[in-house]
Amino acid sequence: MRLARPAAGLLCALMLAVPAAAGAEAARVSLPVIERQVMCVTCKIPLNVAESPQADREREYIRSLIAEGKDEAQIKDALVTQYTSAVLGLPQTHGFDLAAYLVPVAVVIGLLALLIFLLPSWRRRSAAGAGDEAGALSPEDAARLESDLALFD
């Protein structure tokens, strides 16, 4: 009897948790979620902001796939089969689209190289600047500074 209570509690918790998880899974695969991730293939803008007959057909197709119980990956695969990979809005890994991946890497490398090249000269300049400032104090200024500092003693 003592064991029965915790077991019943655990069972209840499981019964509540399973539908909640299933509900969360179902909520994740919805038209707005997919719309945000794919393109209107003729307008070449994200589907969630596209207004065209083709965009409407694409939405209907996504709805039908959701109704069939397909998950996010399966829906994307089906869209690629029908509309080519252009529907995903990702640059391709060949041809001119390759620049979308290479240019940011080249820019970062270029900036790092520039930093490595310029950093030592900046350091030298700031060190020299600090020395100049100390040496640039005239005897009158130095005397005034001394007298001012003496006020605080």
Partner: protein
Amino acid sequence: MSLAGACLLALLIYGISTQAASRTLDEQVAKGAQPPAPHATQSLPILGTPGSGSLAQLRGKVVVLNFWASWCEPCQVEAPLLENAQRQLARHGGTVLGVTYKDVTGDSERFVREYHLSYTNLRDAGGTFAAAYGTDQLPETFIIDRQGRIVAISRGEIAKPFLDRAVALAATT
């Protein structure tokens, strides 16, 4: 720094120029040239059947090559005209060849049934065939002679005189 900026600008201009649909065929046809139909040997799945077909298989026939999609309203308007042209072309050794563009297969098949299209329709799944013709808006139609050369191009909804031209070509060559 300015060199890097110039390089990025050049890359941007190149990108825009390569992404835009090619109008090379239009320019050639406008000059009176008859360029060979591109990607003629590319094999594409036939809509509604398990087989595949290509434009090259129709060499020797006058072909009205029509790019369409079920969601395209002008395509719905011109579908009966194309079916009528198919009947006339068939009498003179010609044919209409449809190619679907960015369309869901089920929708395309429904369209063929709805408009009672009797001619072959291919499915350009990869989009490379349409790209070779500079197709980016629908409908677009090309008249191809018996030697596989493009003799006329219509980008937009076709009118009957355009199709009559294809029928006349089939009847006289």
